[in-house]
């Protein structure tokens, strides 16, 4: 076991030290963070000068609610007198940069929601969106004031609403709105696909390099093939976990640091929405489980295939079956996302090589029963045992073979050899 540890450490340390790893692990999230910080900074900067505003209300009904609405999202509003003189004075104050802009609300505003925005520069995109929504809201309230059942009418204008009624009571839960968890699940499935593919390829490459430069012939005289293979898989896996861990930490830090900033700009309702997109601890744990099991399953295969190749040109071709094995569930997942007519895919997902990509997002969205999730995990664990056994035997023979790639019959012979 000590020797396995030596191999693990070599794989891990040599990989984590490379420039590629450091760049991929740190620079990518740093860049993301930088971009985000930059846009927030720019947003704050540009809004600072636009925050002081005035409002001329000829209607007499909209002014207060519009001002209140805009103040709610961080602007300072001042209601000016609705007169020629008042407007002239505001123009002067605009000229002197005392205020950034002023709005004029009149009859057209009440009837159609259109209003005048007067300033030296055009409105920012954020202000345009916020103000249009707030003004429309105020105008609608004003016009609904005299109508019977204003609340119902407002809801009608907001669109209809589907109410799910399950035939059997136990299916009730599947009707809940899954929009957010579908996003989480799908992002997770993509991440699982990418990480199994990339880290699996690392294992493949590591095995093949060692074989083609014959280092393996020296190493194998001191360490058993299965120990070498296990060490490689664990070492690359540890690197993968490090990378994923750093990324998760970045996202968490970003969320913690970014939320208060965002909160200062938006109402609390939006914060809750933002928070709900972030995965819960349970989902994270499930992701980790699927990642680990999926990685062990695939990396064992990648190691075996790497042991079959002796030449660079073969490498790509030899991996094709594995790419397919990974790609098929992803395609199934892509084409059936958000559709409940494909529940039968849950059963397909029980195939261990498909489970991470098919079952995880469904588990995250709550569309697969718990017992099925558990069963898929158990089946994967069992598959790892079998795969590792077969892969280990192919590896053992393959790493010392040079020349043509083995035929399937030869592979069977390798596996059966004592």
């Amino acid at each position: 076991m000590n020797q396995v540890w030596v191999v693990v450490r070599r794989e891990y340390v040599e990989r984590v030290r490379t420039k590629g790893f450091i760049i991929a692990t740190l620079a990518v999230p740093l860049m993301m963070m930088g971009l985000m910080a930059f846009s927030i900074f720019m947003g704050v900067q540009s809004n600072q000068s636009e925050r002081e505003m005035a409002l001329v209300d000829y209607t007499g009904v909209l002014g207060d609610s519009v001002a209140a609405g805009l103040e709610g999202v961080g602007y300072t509003m001042e209601i000016a007198a609705p007169s020629e003189a008042g407007v002239t004075e505001l123009d002067q104050r605009l000229e002197d940069d005392e205020i950034a802009a002023y709005m004029i609300l009149d009859d057209v505003t009440v009837s159609q929601g259109a209003f005048v925005y007067r300033s030296k520069d055009g409105p920012g995109r954020l202000f345009r969106a916020l103000s249009e929504r707030i003004v429309a809201e105020a105008a609608l309230s004003a016009r609904l004031a005299g109508v019977e059942d204003p609340a119902g009418l407002r809801q009608l204008l907001g669109g209809g609403e589907l109410e799910f009624e399950a035939l059997r009571e136990e299916d009730e839960a599947s009707g809940i709105d899954e929009g957010v968890s579908i996003i989480t699940g799908f992002a997770g499935a993509m991440l699982l696909y990418m990480s199994m593919l990339i880290y699996g390829s690392y294992v493949f490459r590591s095995v093949m390099d060692e074989k083609t430069n014959r280092v393996v012939e020296v190493v194998i005289s001191s360490i058993r093939p299965w120990q070498l293979m296990l060490g490689k898989i664990l070492g690359v896996g540890a690197m993968g976990l490090t990378q994923l861990g750093i990324w998760v930490a970045f996202v968490a830090a970003l969320a913690l640091a970014g939320l208060p900033l965002v909160a200062s700009r938006f109402s609390m309702e939006n914060i809750d929405q933002l928070l709900s997109v972030l995965p819960g601890v349970g989902i994270l744990g499930l992701f980790l489980l699927y990642f680990l099991l999926g990685y062990f399953l695939y990396s064992a295969l990648f190691a075996a295939v790497g042991a079959m190749c002796s030449r660079e040109e073969e490498a790509q071709q030899a991996q094709v079956p594995l790419f397919l094995l990974l790609g098929v569930p992803l395609m199934l997942q892509l084409s059936t996302i958000n559709s409940r007519a494909f529940d039968w895919l849950n059963w397909v997902g029980l195939f261990p090589f498909f489970s991470p990509i098919l079952i995880f997002p469904r588990a995250a969205a709550g569309t697969v029963p718990g017992w099925m999730t558990a069963l898929s995990l158990v089946l994967m664990a069992a598959a790892i045992v079998c795969t590792a056994w077969v892969a280990g035997r192919i590896y053992r023979t393959g790493i010392l073979m040079q020349g043509k790639r083995p035929t399937f019959r030869e592979l069977v012979r390798w596996v059966r050899a004592a």
Binding site: R10, E217, V218
Partner: protein, 312 residues
């Protein structure tokens, strides 16, 4: 009595239609230094790979320290493959530490010993450089250090000197000798006969997958003594078509006559005199290994297919 370090009995290995090694017998006593000689493609590497348990013989047996070349026995061997296999991206010293550690050595011990070796082979300044930044020759020295680092009982070196300059060849030779003095058994393959002549106690000559000669080098030379004759003439040498002469080679002013097996030098001398040759010198030489080899294997021994691995 201790078993031989290596014993092959009737070992045969074929790759498809090509026979790489055929009916090979070999016994390497412990503590000896043994040269496996032969041209490219004659089966040296295949033989070594069978000894290391990398290839299994189709027929015959291979024994290492008196048993099958299993894991425990292989770990008592230091093996330098013909290909210069190194982890290119690792630092020199890290690579050596790794090789020592998988052989169960303590990290600190290996590091110290690796540094000593690197100093000795004048690679001390390169210890923290990546292996791929080293020249091929330096990489080869690093690989050699990796072979002897754990002080194995048996060193198996496949073409250890090829690609090295004469100075480094000498350094390596002296280290090999020193290892032998410490009691290590050494088997190395080479196609450089002179080198083998300098280093080996015993040699085994292979040609075209078969053993042609095997035994104590001094013994062989004594036995083969009369088979090469150096002759010089007054005036231009005549055309030599004397009975008993198998081959003629020009060496400086002299001609070296390689005698057919069974032919005596007296016979040749008589033929020369009968031919009326103006002999100035007629001398029985101690034969060089190269000539012994040619005599036994013929000149066309080389350049068969490589024996690196399975070819189907």
């Amino acid at each position: 009595m201790t078993p031989p370090a290596v014993r092959l009995v009737g070992a045969t290995k074929t790759f498809g239609t090509h026979t790489a090694v055929s009916g090979f017998d070999l016994e390497i006593p412990q503590g000896s230094i043994y040269g496996l000689l032969g041209p490219n493609g004659s089966g040296k590497t295949t033989t070594i790979r069978m000894i290391m348990g990398i290839l299994l013989p189709d027929v015959g047996t291979v024994e290492l320290f008196g048993g099958v070349p299993d894991f425990a026995r292989r770990s008592r061997v230091g093996y330098l493959p013909e290909e210069r296999g190194v982890y290119e991206k690792m630092k020199v010293v890290d690579q050596l530490v790794f090789l020592g550690e998988i052989r169960g050595m303590e990290r600190q011990t290996v590091r110290g010993r690796a540094m000593e070796w690197l100093e000795r082979l004048e690679l001390g300044d390169w210890a923290l450089k990546k292996v791929r930044d080293l020249s091929k020759g330096m990489q080869q020295k690093v690989q050699f250090i990796g072979t002897v680092l754990h002080e194995p009982e048996l060193l198996i070196l496949d073409e250890p000197f090829s690609g090295l300059d004469p100075i480094n060849q000498d350094v390596l030779e002296s280290i090999v000798r020193e290892q032998q003095d410490k009691g290590t058994t050494i088997l190395f393959s080479t196609h450089l006969m002179e080198q083998a002549e300098r280093l080996c106690e015993r040699v085994c000559l292979i040609s075209k997958a078969r053993k042609v000669l095997d035994g104590d080098l001094k013994e062989i030379k004594r036995r083969e003594r009369s088979s090469v004759v150096a002759v010089e003439f007054d005036g231009p040498p005549p055309r030599i078509a004397w009975p008993g002469v198998a081959a003629v080679q020009e060496v400086g002013d002299a001609l070296h006559l390689l005698l057919r097996p069974g032919a005596s030098h007296g016979e040749v001398l008589a033929a020369a005199v009968a031919d009326g040759a103006a002999l100035r010198r007629f001398e029985r030489l101690e034969p060089r290994l190269h000539e012994i080899f040619l005599r036994h294997a013929g000149e066309n021994g080389g350049n068969g297919p490589t024996e690196h691995g399975e070819q189907r």
